[in-house]
Symmetry: C2
């Protein structure tokens, strides 16, 4: 089944303890699309400025990503994010954000995207996420991400969105901000009361938690020995997760649990290099081999 | 098989964001002994002062703990620790330490303790740990813990100890301090090069990692919704882990992986109340029921 993603497409500057890189391909939509592309055809909706390097669009297309929904706005610059990672490679500071073309992002879905059954709404403003959802005619699984900014400034609209979706994917800090609850199993239950039956809490290097109905699942991260640039790990996780579910064309909770393992493994590749340099140069065989290794690592019996 | 533990027996004062309690039973030896007692007979070696409440010894004995190695030193006070937990309940500050009787802790093992095959050396000074080990005549599995203080001040002796033991149990921060490596899988490999074939890294609320030979195992913590007092969780983990191995009388690596799950579950009870209030009032049935629940929580397929 095809998978629709609406998200940011960006140029990033990333500073890690050992290296600084500028003008990297980034954005939630980019990471998600390529991560999911190993499983299923992806339809990307996003916006860029007229400074956008065409080579990035070609790379996305080479992964089978349908870029008909990637709009270029003349006279605007592509969204830029600049961040710096701490020594622990888990915490980071945002140093600069230049919204550029994103300020004029008001997507109209191409006709052939509207019937897409699997839908991921990346961390765009909640009114935009709702606007996209209203254009979708046959949703089977709608998953949304959000961020601290919208929890603080668009809470009412975000709460409306949560009532319309099946699943939400949050960082632990966002789950705490949204619910006021610092205990993650409790926070997950509080988020679930706001609407989505599936709640996924991402804990970075500490793995993830799923609340599906009343059943909790907790998985550790893949124990990566090479962490070069953690940018995009969360979106790659969501892409691997939803890519697998779209491929299997199911929202069965056993499949959702398996999808977390795929998301975990795909994200583990992303952090092994800057930008999408590792993520975009994978094979499904490499993903499946690491999944098998991961299953051994988390096996008790 | 019996299980020998040499560790601290203490009176704690604990401050959490919601409550403060004084004069609580604490110490690595106490938590470890009671945790392990649900699996196997425990032999405890430790020291207390003449202010020691006899009721605590009776409680240990009621759990089948052989307290013949618990020495009372007249004219000294029992070791006291005072700590304060941060809002996140994972980080803490030590506010005060009064070593008291611990300064005169130089254990001579009772004769019937010397043949004990399963041995846990809690985080005492490394010269003392080596002194105990030299009194043991039939070790089958020797596991040691340590702490930042000894890594900083007794590194040479600690390195000697590491060459004599089968397994070491460390916090993530201690593993980093010992190896200079902040990536945990790499830190585990570096620790292994120092001697122990089994390396267990405890990550508090984020679970644990085992390196056994060249095989990594990573497990999340049990997702506890009630965290009242995290004191003793690490020692309870070690107690549950070694208790299971002593019960099964094996050091087989499949059993070691299972033992991590037992340690995880036993520790999850400890944090549900102050001191040993929950840990000491368990049944094996409760432990096994939570283990079954935990296995479901970490199951992917």
């Amino acid at each position: 089944m095809p998978l629709l993603v609406v998200g940011s497409v960006a140029l990033d500057s990333v500073e890690t303890p050992s290296e600084t890189r500028d003008d990297l391909l980034g954005g939630s939509g980019s990471y998600f699309s390529v991560a999911a592309s190993y499983f299923t055809p992806v339809q990307l909706v996003g916006v860029v400025g007229d400074d956008w390097p065409e080579e990035h669009t070609k790379m996305l297309q080479s992964h089978g990503v349908d870029t008909a929904g990637l709009e270029t706005i003349e006279g605007e610059a592509t969204f830029r994010w600049k961040g710096k990672y701490h020594e622990n490679m888990n915490d980071r500071d945002t140093l600069d954000v230049q919204l550029g073309a994103m300020t004029r992002f008001d997507p109209t879905l191409p006709d052939n995207f509207r019937q897409c059954p699997f839908i991921f709404l990346a961390n765009d403003p909640p009114p935009l996420q709702i606007g996209v959802l209203e254009q979708c005619s046959a949703p089977k699984l709608v998953v949304a991400d959000t961020m601290d900014l919208w929890i603080n400034t668009e809470r009412e609209t975000l709460l409306k969105l949560l009532k319309k979706i099946d699943a939400v994917v949050l960082n632990d800090s966002e789950a705490k901000l949204l619910t006021g609850e610092s205990n993650m199993p409790r926070a997950a239950r509080e988020v679930q009361k706001l609407g989505p039956s599936l709640v996924v809490i991402k804990k970075g290097e500490h793995g993830c938690m799923l609340l599906a109905g009343d059943r909790l699942t907790v998985l550790p991260a893949y124990p990566t020995e090479t962490v070069i640039d953690p940018t995009g790990a969360g979106d790659s996780f969501a892409g691997g997760m939803m890519g697998y579910l779209a491929e299997q064309d199911t929202v069965d909770t056993a499949a959702v649990r398996r999808s977390l393992a795929y998301g975990t493994v795909v994200a583990s590749f992303t952090v092994e290099d800057f930008s999408l340099d590792r993520l975009a140069n994978l094979t499904r065989e490499e993903i499946d081999a690491r999944l098998a290794e991961y299953m051994k690592i988390v096996a008790i019996d």
